[in-house]
Symmetry: C2
Subunit: 371 residues, 2 copies
């Protein structure tokens, strides 16, 4: 019997995904991590009010979650002083990026991003047959001018930029980002990923223009709000761009528990302030640990810090491997010259202590390996 055939596009795709979880690494290596500092999760945890709301919702989970996420959208609209029609909720920025690419990108359409930027976006572009064009980082920052120029050159439908950036942690200020938005070519949409924006200095996010049809912004409860495992993100954009998601989104929508948790987290401003302080302290601690080992760090407006290991990608990947072997889960940028760095998520003092204890040996062993 002849088997059913995948579509030509599906046939062309590898059966692999860009995100390998720490649990998969733990299973492969046969021991658990002592410190979990590789996925920019918030080891400080979510708001206790969010935990309580999720625990309450657990007993109501026989009901589907509201597929319109009405209450959460209303609350987010009030929070941002915009309309619910400017907001689409989804199962994390990742899912929203997938839906967005599906709506705008078909076979051969050009898309622009930075070499070494968020791989999940690239995964979606490939998954819908788009053609990815990249520009390099500039001084360890994403380069708005180069992204715009490339988009003009190739007639891109989408440009992706994260501000603050992952994996480097660097950022541009609001004026610079507004300048970029204003320069988006006709027929193109800027995807502005602001996953870490709550942890950035005041003046990093440009004002929200609720009618701008050349930018869509992505936010999440996974980072500052400490709810990565709940899968809640949202897009902010002009009403007709947002309305487009209703053409193809998973209309059974969101987990009921996740919706309840996000709503409670949003209302707990005090916890967010607490997290900002903890993240700030932890960034300082990472800088200090690096300095104690003779290493520089990159400036960060996020809940992680890139440590420059001072040599090339080979050396940094040895440091990384040694940290992993020591039970410290961390990651590194993929592309030279940014791959001279390792990326350390902020964490509790206890997590930082484990990292501080492991780093000197990891560096020494990497040096020794050089022969």
């Amino acid at each position: 019997m002849t088997k059913v055939a995948l579509t030509p596009l599906a046939q062309s795709l590898p059966a692999s995904v860009p995100f390998v979880g720490p649990e998969a690494q733990e299973r492969a290596q046969g021991f658990p991590f002592k410190a979990r500092l590789g996925a920019n999760e918030s080891t400080f945890g979510p708001s206790p009010k969010a935990i309580a709301a999720m625990q309450k919702a657990a007993s109501e989970v026989w009901m589907y979650g509201d597929p319109e996420s009405h209450d959460l959208r209303q609350a987010l609209a009030a929070h941002h002083q915009i309309a619910p029609e400017n907001i689409m909720i989804g199962e994390g920025i990742d899912t929203l990026l997938g839906v967005l690419v599906r709506l705008y990108v078909t076979a051969g359409d050009a898309v622009v991003t930075s070499a070494g930027a968020y791989p999940t976006f690239n995964y979606h572009v490939a998954g819908f047959g788009g053609t990815l064009h990249t520009v390099p980082y500039k001084n360890d920052h994403e380069d708005p001018d180069a992204l715009i120029a490339k988009a003009r050159e190739v007639g891109a439908k989408l440009i992706y930029i994260a501000n603050p950036d992952n994996p480097m942690g660097t950022w541009h200020n609001a004026a610079r980002m507004q300048q970029m938005i204003d320069a988006v070519p006709a027929g193109c949409l800027l995807v502005l990923d602001e996953a870490y924006i709550e942890l950035a200095p005041e003046g990093t996010a440009p004002a929200i223009n609720t009618s701008a049809d050349n930018v869509i912004r992505m936010r999440t409860f996974s980072k500052a709000h400490g709810m990565a495992g709940a899968r809640v993100g949202y897009a902010i954009g002009a009403p007709d761009i947002i309305q487009g998601f209703n053409k193809v989104r998973n209309h059974f929508g969101m987990s009921r528990i996740s919706q309840a948790g996000a709503l409670a987290a949003l209302r707990d401003d005090g916890w967010l302030g607490h997290i900002r302080e903890e993240v700030s302290k932890s960034r300082e601690r990472i800088i200090q640990i690096a300095a104690e080992n003779g290493l520089q760090t990159l400036p960060s407006a996020t809940n992680f810090v890139a440590i420059d290991c001072g040599r090339n990608g080979d050396f940094a990947s040895r440091v990384l491997a040694n940290l992993i072997t020591a039970g410290v889960f961390v990651r590194m940028p993929f592309v030279a010259p940014q791959n001279r760095c390792i990326r350390i998520s902020c964490g509790t003092a206890a997590q930082m202590d484990i990292f501080a204890a492991a780093l000197p040996g990891a560096l020494q062993a990497a040096h020794d390996n050089l022969g």
Copy 2:
């Protein structure tokens, strides 16, 4: 400035989704439902052990869920006595159906289903540009022979059938389904939706053949397990069909809380037995309520019962509207002649009492409306 253009396919799609939640109806009508019997949710709730597991996981939600859903896959494999490579976890059957259609259906590909069957499947087929071909129900059952014949006629890539069926509740036995599987044409895949299988009589599910490349089966924790709001479903199929999902699935995967809940639910056989008894009692009660009002019911192997209102779709839709007005959330099949029925989800004795109290008036008012 010229706005970015949706793909031609996206432009062709309406900005609407097939599932409108009861909360949306409540907001529109301005009052809450007294009984929630319209979405085949399990008002009996999930296993208390599943609730406890989800409550524990809530405090760990700062961590991403394992994107491989390893523990749940292992447990499901053991439960079904198959390999983890035969199982793909997803955010409900709905999401899995969407990924499946994406993998196999592109512009103009033919797909076959029954007129009046699960609309979410049709939504995904439209969303990826497929062409839907339908056959009618036969005696209020899905018609395997007609589905197979239509698939041969149009060269379908996918055939969809639910066994037991939603919205009618009727079913075929395992031998009949195996006969259908054996008749699937070359180059075609049968999508066998078994969302309600745990509530059906022994002998409804054909044996799982872990190497069959002409069928993929869909299961869920939303129905018998009472976890609709957690969004956990799974597909069972040959390893290379399952592996295909890794080409395009949302690799950040599942809610951590949902994974924990599903794992605990799967292990609580006692609760599933309790639910089977409750559902069976409730089906009898719905039959009795119908009889008290002079109405027949259809046989059901699910957690809902279709009540034949004894006239046409217009009449049934009046009965439905009257029930809604009385605060009873119920739904009805979309297509004649099945739309002579209303579909009542099983529920607790208290929910059944509310329905029993509302039905006579709803019928009387519908009769009066006929003039």
